[in-house]
Amino acid sequence: MNQTPEVQNPGAEVTPCWSCKGPVAGRALFCSTCGAIQGPGNLDHFTRLGLPRRFAVEQAELDRQYFGFQRRLHPDRFATRSPREKALSQVQATALNEAYNTLKDPLKRAAYLLRLSGRKVDVESAGTIDDPQLLMESMEMREALAEADSVEEVSRHLSEAEANIADSHKDLAAAFAADDLDEAGRLVTRLKYLGKLADEARQRRAKLAAMK
């Protein structure tokens, strides 16, 4: 869900296990006494997937962590269990999917990191671009795409947008590494419109290809 994550000192609290009523560490997946699955708790996405909180994320490492947790928590593992256990595994798997979805996409991951640092970023809505340089760039690319009327031309614009996206990912990694959150915020805005532009180009290309 889109709520702002609350960051806690992981594992600092001890809560009663719903099943055997004994103590369980706040971030435990299973009760160490009776083995019952626990609720997902209020963890940030990085902690949930056991990854360090930083922009640089290896896709293979992210997948490995995600699959590893899903193997133990997915509702398929609890299909014959009690309704309570089924419900908890669904909530756990849902939380894992949300974390995975956010972290696997560099744009969402960057926006999430900025939010964790207390900056407001809206990845979903179009928003306005207040950086004049970005605004110019965006308008120029948009016009160029609007004038393109062959599959080849649209494809060229698409590859250009894709190259720009790849560059922005690199710049974003550098900005986060240098702890330059202002620059990271600017790059997130740039990635947002580049992503939209690429989507539009793809749709346009499909339309032109279908007309042929």
Binding site: E13, A25, T33, A36, G68, R77, R81
Partner: protein, 631 residues
Amino acid sequence: MLLQIHEPGETPLPHADERGLAVGIDLGTTNSVVAIALDGSPAVLRNAEGSGLVPSVVAYSEDGSVVVGKEASKQLLDRPETVVSSVKRLMGRGAGDVKALAGTLPFVLDEAAEGGMVRLKVAGRSLTPVEVSADILRALKAKAEESLDGTVGRAVITVPAYFDDAARSATKDAAKLAGIEVLRLVNEPTAAALAYGLDNAAEGLYAVYDLGGGTFDISLLRMEKGVFQVLATGGDAALGGDDFDHEVAEYFLAERARELGEAQITPDEAKQALMTARLAKECLSSRDSGEWVIEVDGRQSRHVLDRNGFEALIAAEVDRTIELCRNVLEDAGVQPQDVHGVVLVGGSTRVPLVRRRVAEFFGKEPLADINPDEVVAVGAALQAEALTVGSDTLLLDVTPLSLGIETMGGIVEKVIPRNTPIPVAMAQEFTTYQDGQSAMAIHVLQGEREMADQNRSLARFELHGIPPMTAGAARIRVTFAVDADGLLTVSAEETTTGVEQHVAVKPSYGLTDDEMAQMLRDSMEHAREDMETRLLAEARVEARRAVLAVRSALDADQDLLSDDERTAIHAAMNGVEEAVAGVDRDAISAAVEALDGATRSFAERRMDRGIRSALAGVSVDRLENKVEGRD
């Protein structure tokens, strides 16, 4: 690397099989298949002639008896008004949807029927597609029980990946009516991938092209070491091999009309032409040409068709499937050459034009070494075993269609985009648009189009009791949750005041709870018994879990108890075990409650100790090391 197949919490329970054997069921448009897996090796259940296909055809007679399968197909010609086929095409459909398809479906609709769900007129009865599907499932269950010599109580049932929420609910309802507990609804292409991947140790990107009788699915999966991750899925829930038959039948009928100088086509002629078309399709899949005769009421017409002619008739349908393949690859950002293999599923993939076009598009010969009619049931059986006995494989599926809400001006605001991994929960905030507005209508939609009326309407409900505020001040948070079966629940909440409404969405075209209850009453006596058995089994699972939990707690912390207290807890545990051995559900829950009471102060002391150790920094680390061990 943690080499543990079962986590502490997921050891299979003893006696888990009291709810019967677990099978995989491919409930198809044209044929259904049942399979079972034991120790990882799946087997399709076959009749005496060795066929695993049961025609999804139901014949009803005036005396109330029901016949399913080949016997029912035989009656299609003599007494067509008593026979229902291809009912899967109507699952989750409303009367309005079906009118749009009028003429292409072999059904007589009950125009007088009330309520959202379409009804069929058969042998003097008015039946919903759910009831007809339940009759098929009942027959499959009976056949399986006969050949396995045991009770079949649970199943993984497959559905087209592109089935919407209403059709999925309808399928689950049908199983309930037939006295089958649905372990999981699994998407057909995903089931096929499971069967295929486990058999061939396939790794990398795979596309599953599944052309059934009435539905087309295309799924793109990543397979690696026991993980089957669906990346994108697409399709058309109203496109299948049946459409090939219709094209050919129309061609034959036009020829017949010319030849015999007929202006009007009778329903009998239409049925005959359809059956002949089916034969022609099968014949032209292996031969270059053929000749067929249609004879109705003594009037004959002769029809010659060669493979080129046949392919010209079905080219548009095949093109459409390739277009959908292209869309799915686009969605996943994948090029055809990135796909390592293409798996063919569904009897209609035997048509040579289909194979050719698929090979052309993906640039490689498609794989079909598992019988395309049976591969889905085989995958379902493997998953049924995985869900009941335990397994190390993991199926990660996605939502096939976007889910959203109608906003001002009839525009759809998407809440969950298509191809999102499930289970998933996502929320969106909306606001009021009038001063003092106290209620808000919420219209839930499924589909990719921009305007509400172009998408599938799933449900409507209202959030009431919004306190008076100026327009735009209220914060209405609507949460969509999709479970592992792909079924949706919607809830709405006004967040500034906490007015809340949770609505388990009953699809507009689904059965109401009342209708369901009535059908359960009407259905055979044993369906009710099945339900009672299931509730008892659930109570037992819960009671055994409670005893195991207390036993673990005693193992860990029994030094916190006096001898008397320990004796009292053991007595309460014995009480639960005795109740579980019986068949009285109330007695079981009373005993569990008594156990709860007997352990209350023990639990408090355990918590105290846990918190004290945590503060001392000991126990928490111990717990964490244990739970954070990774695969």
